[in-house]
Symmetry: C2
Subunit: 140 residues, 2 copies
Amino acid sequence: MQIERMIRRFREAGLKITPQRVAIFEYLYTTTSHPTVDDIYAYITGRFPSVSLTTVYNTLQTMVGLGEIEEIAISHERRNFDPDTRPHSHIMCVKCKRIEDIYTDNLSENCLPESVRKRYRILGQRIYFYGLCSRCVAEK
Amino acid sequence: MQIERMIRRFREAGLKITPQRVAIFEYLYTTTSHPTVDDIYAYITGRFPSVSLTTVYNTLQTMVGLGEIEEIAISHERRNFDPDTRPHSHIMCVKCKRIEDIYTDNLSENCLPESVRKRYRILGQRIYFYGLCSRCVAEK
DNA sequence: TTTTATATTAAAATGATTACAAATTAAAAA
DNA sequence: TTTTTAATTTGTAATCATTTTAATATAAAA
């Protein structure tokens, strides 16, 4: 399972396995949402009341460094993390800020003109959609 | 020209035309880059030494509200603004952080599955590419 | 020219993130 | 199992970006 995988990845990197870290893994891999630092911190404090925000930041940064989670830059207001590293896109409701995954086989690498491609070593690509979800449309 | 256009847009919205605002318009429409708040502030202080950061923030926010500039969410480290509101994409060098425009006729609205489309009122879309520019590849 | 509503400014408040040093602990070695 | 050691966690303080606020200044209408 993914939590075991993270433990193995941390061990391989010479990092220690602490209960705080495992709790963060558990939260990331059992929620289907795209949590913020505060979401994660709120959950962890439920289990380890004395946990420090620094620990959450450090662990997330380490996981990003290992390529096991990704930051979603869909909005400047919030910083969301995504434990799903398969290629996919996101859509955010501009009102309630919820983010949903979009899986599609047609990720548009082909948008990149040759003139750009030859001047860059391409490392990644992100596609974000913005809209109003049906719930928020109904409300207003 | 675009500066005249912004002046007209502000007037139409019942907003006043101040030298500070005009200087911000001038900076935005005579640079081809994607400036941050600090880039703009640095330029404006050259002309109005006593200008306040608040004025820069307020003016940018107003322009975003009028739909005349857009925020680029390509990175959480920086907040870049784009005075070009035509549909286009961006590529950022992950090392030097420079952002370049990409114009392409094939913006992938078609990436959106019907199942998602029917649950959202789509308002916008952004595509970001990440890579190393030739200059930064050479350096390392 | 006077008036008035809006904009600017400076300073303080807020919020997110990072840096730091002391105390704790995971895990390797004995 | 116990000891040792290096890494981690914690709490606090520092930093940085952004927003709020209230007083002052000013664009533009009267």
